[in-house]
Amino acid sequence: MTVIVEVDGLVKQFPGAAEPAVRGVSFAVMQGEVFSLLGPNGAGKTTTLSMLSCLLEPTAGDARIAGHSIRKEPQEVKRLLGVVPQDIALYPTLSARENLVFWGQMYGMGGAVLRQRVEEVLETVDLRDRAKERIEAYSGGMKRRINFAVGLLHRPQLVFMDEPTVGIDPQSRRNILDMVKLLNGQGMTVLYTTHYMEEAQELSHRIGIIDHGRMIAMGTLAELTRLVGEKDVVELKIAAEQSTPELLAALGQVTGVEKVTADDGAVRLLAADGNAALPEMITAANARGVRVTNVDIREPNLEAVFLHLTGRALRD
């Protein structure tokens, strides 16, 4: 397979910030694959994508998109790319069609070709019958779909998608995930950022886990889960106010438990054998007057990987 994105030691230090937002990130994306950057909010995913889309100048390092340096040939890079930003970047008082025509013009398109492409992407996102309506009249999910469509207008061979499903209803999310798979099936390479482990698992050929501006692990889902071995994630539901440091410390002492983290009334434990350790966990909780209302034992997944690598839950 051909390498289409080659990132080499990208660093971004914002003026006045105590620490760099991105600290020497390197990875490669192969043509035709979906590569996800997975990490919590503030991990450096969007900053990395902004540098790759030539919006931010890297403090150090470089990247090549289809052989073009983002530092030396930004205009060439921009011609190759489609970008779907995290925020909905559309004009609310223009109709969906007017928005698409405008953005098509920004990609250098015009005339009959542009008109045809606008109709095609409207069809792709299933909004052709509402194309005359202003964006301000759209639901959040419909806006997301038009936001998505803009990035596809000029038939890019590579699309950057920055958390395209944030803040939308399950149906629209499903719609977008299906579109990503469809486009990838048609040969489009996708660099996808998300903090939803499920999305990364479902879409990606390979995943890079990013935290505090560093790439901490990279590989296929199978390769990544092997990092945690045969460990399980045990999630105990308790009352939020009972999630005390004392309880977490006690659970950490349970035989076979490696890591403990808690948020919003859920305690997550990484354990060698979840089933075996469960009775002792319940006993430890009950001994401190904590009532466990629900238990969930999961096979190793990306969340377990993140917990294993950082000691924190992905949503922390």
Binding site: C54, Q75, L94, Q105, Y107
Partner: protein, 420 residues
């Protein structure tokens, strides 16, 4: 260039679909013009609803014994201006000033001794004395009418200046073509000056404004011809600040960064935004001028001259809008500063109380506003002036635009458009 037009056109559409913006851009200046028209009695006259300003009391103190003093006095007392002005003459400077201060007359036109001699060559040496300034002493209580008097006198001075410059150019051209030796220049200049002074055509040139008025009808001054441009330029400042605001709003809303991820250069994006602001301002002033001409019958002047003036005014104002966007950090800041600037410029530049004689420092300061230059130009055109008369206004506005754009571009470069 296509992308610049695309961005500008998009901005124009977005602005004209914003109801709140439309109210402030078009409805507010129109309504204020209308309201002030009622206040000034513009709509309550008996002559078909257009009463105009008549019989402006003005006192002339002619201490000059030369031709120019006499010429100006004859202009002010001519039949052509008989309906507009009610002139009296006085030899007592102090009492004339007192009449103004007591608001018994709108203005005193003071022609100091030696005025003509300071302009026209008097001896074979050809050396001009230091120019003695004319003075128009105006009543602050009569801003509109005193502005009319001042405008008439300015028109006269402008014609005299034209004659002088014509003489200088003629001498220069003779020297450069080798037809005249440098040492002969003073004599030739004096002769040209004397000819200009004696030539009947030249006399007509000085009194051109009065002659024009007499040929048609008395140049009735319509107060709306001052109010309407005043309001148009005042609210133009709102429109250009809206343009500056849109740049920062696009940054906030993510559309500007998205534009910069497309193969569109920073210069194209900035150019498109500026051109969009310019087009919007142009459309706004154009609509106001057309609507007020059609609905109120305002005579703005010759259409081509008015158009050229509008192009220059919008350029100057857009310069301010661009600078605002370069200085401010958030759209809210642009709105706040823009509103303050709009009001300050409106007061300083004469949009509210046109023609008020400001103290000299304020008069100088007013030249930083598009309002002052614009009002001068509009008033001049409304009183029958031509493109030549408004050239200083156009020059001032274009210089303003160039300087402000330059400063804004430097500031944008420093902070980076992507992080604007």
């Amino acid at each position: 260039m296509r992308k610049v037009f695309s961005i500008a056109w998009k901005d124009l559409i977005v602005t004209f679909r914003d109801r709140a913006a439309l109210i402030l851009m078009l409805a507010a200046p129109f309504a204020l013009t209308l309201a002030m028209g009622f206040v000034t009695g513009r709509f309550s006259g008996s002559s078909g609803g257009i009463s105009g300003v008549r019989d402006i009391p003005v006192v002339i103190v002619n201490q000059d014994e030369g031709e120019l003093g006499a010429a100006l006095e004859s202009v002010l007392t001519s039949d052509g201006l008989a309906d507009l002005l009610e002139p009296t003459t006085s030899s007592d400077l102090a009492s004339a000033r007192r009449l103004v201060e007591e608001d018994q007359v709108a203005a005193a036109v003071i022609l100091p001794a030696g005025f003509s001699a300071s302009i026209l060559p008097q001896d074979s040496g050809g050396s001009a004395a230091q120019v003695v300034a004319l003075e128009v002493y105006t009543s602050p209580g009569r801003p509109t009418t005193s502005a009319i008097v001042r405008s008439i006198v300015e028109g006269f001075v402008s014609q005299v200046e034209t004659g002088r410059i014509g003489g200088q150019v003629a001498v220069t051209q003779l020297i450069m073509s080798g037809r005249l030796a440098v040492q002969e220049a003073p004599t030739a200049g004096m002769e040209i000056g004397a000819r200009l002074a004696e030539d009947p055509a030249r006399t007509e040139l000085i009194t051109l404004r009065s002659t024009t008025a007499a040929a048609a009808e008395a140049p009735r001054f319509d107060p709306l011809a001052y109010l309407a441009p005043g309001m148009a330029v005042l609210f133009l400042m709102y429109t250009v600040s809206l343009g500056g605001r849109s740049l920062l709003a696009e940054q906030r809303d993510g559309t500007l960064p998205r534009m910069l991820t497309t193969p569109t250069s920073t210069a194209q994006v900035l150019g498109g935004k500026l051109f969009g602001t310019y087009l919007t301002g142009l459309a706004q002033v154009g609509v106001l001028v057309l609507a007020s001409a059609l609905l109120f019958g305002i005579n703005w002047g010759r259409p081509l001259d008015v158009l050229i003036l509008i192009l220059a005014i919008v350029a100057g104002a857009t310069g301010w809008g661009t600078l605002l966007a370069a200085i401010a950090k958030t759209p809210t800041q642009v709105s706040s500063i823009g509103l303050a600037l709009m009001l300050a410029f409106g007061i300083l530049g004469g949009s509210f109380f046109g023609g008020v004689q400001l103290p000299l420092p304020m008069e100088i300061l007013s030249k930083i506003t598009p309002n002052a230059w614009g009002m001068d130009g509009f008033l001049s055109l409304a009183l029958g002036g031509t493109l030549v008369d408004i050239l200083p206004s156009i020059g001032g506005l274009l210089a303003m635009a160039v300087i402000l754009f330059g400063v804004a571009v430097v500031l944008f470069r420093r902070r980076g458009l992507a992080r604007a």
